[in-house]
Amino acid sequence: MARDDNHRANVDSDPRSPIDVRVDTPGREGLAGTTSASLYTPLQDSEQVTLAPDGRPLDQQPPWRTDFPIDWPQDHYVERREFMKFMVLTSLALAVGQFSIAVQNWWRRRRGQPEIRRVAALNDLAVGGVATFSYPGEHDDCVIMRPGENELIAYSQKCTHLSCAVRPLMDEGVIHCPCHEGYFDLRSGRPIAGPPRRPLSIVRLQVRGGDVYATGIQERTI
């Protein structure tokens, strides 16, 4: 009590402190216990407090963390939020890609089957022989084989892995892709080894007289 009296005496005599120190003056009711103490806590946004990842106070952190303070909880929130935005953008890109496949398919159907074209003379193909031709476009290379007297097989020469040119190995009964060591069965065109997963596209053939005609392309998934 004596200490309070001393303090009041000092304040009253100090010309620099013209504040009424009585606790019941207007605006100072809290000191008299009439208002909750939280009213006098600093107006600070609790979400803007910088917190270190280990949760220790800032004065116990290494100096570099004081020099470059990062609000980690806020940082975690923001990075997840931004990552989610990026993922939704990725989702948009995937949907656009999906739609482009549908459009390309529509375009392919609209073109229809390629026209029938003569590709070789039967007499030019010996039994066990191989020849190449372009069908249906100028740059769509194909390979025709004659493994037996009455047997003609033609495939697109594009490997179904990465479109390298495949080459038939008639003696071994396989079609080989030299780029990544892919192998296809000669008679069915199905992949038997290496990275290719889809069979080679079949070129449908028709023999008319002494000539061989290509009548269409058959793509397959299995």
Binding site: E47, P73, Q74, H76, Y77, R80, R81, F83, M84, K85, M87, V88, T90, S91, L92, L94, A95, G97, Q98, F99, I101, A102, Q104, N105, R109, T160, R197, R198, S201, Q218, E219, R220, T221, I222
Partner: protein
């Protein structure tokens, strides 16, 4: 008085984590759809293309809805 709930930062982080997990699963599903459809297209199988496209667009809309909710959550700060 607003009926919209306000969330603390910790709550918002939890919500974003949950949404992010959901979005990631959906994007992986979309990626699988794209590769399967591309394989079918190159193999000449046309039956799956439009259904897969519809599914992909539906997933995109779902993701867009979640993103919209993220913005709503972001606005309701305490």
């Amino acid at each position: 008085m607003s009926l919209r709930r306000s969330y603390s930062r910790q709550q918002r982080t939890t919500i974003v984590n949950g949404m992010l997990a959901f979005v990631l699963m959906l994007v992986v599903l979309q990626l699988w759809l794209l590769t399967a459809t591309m394989n079918a297209y190159l193999g000449g199988d046309e039956s799956v293309i439009w259904p897969a496209t519809a599914a992909s667009v539906a997933i995109l809309l779902l993701n867009g809805g979640l993103l919209r909710y993220l913005y709503v959550v972001d606005r309701t700060r305490r």
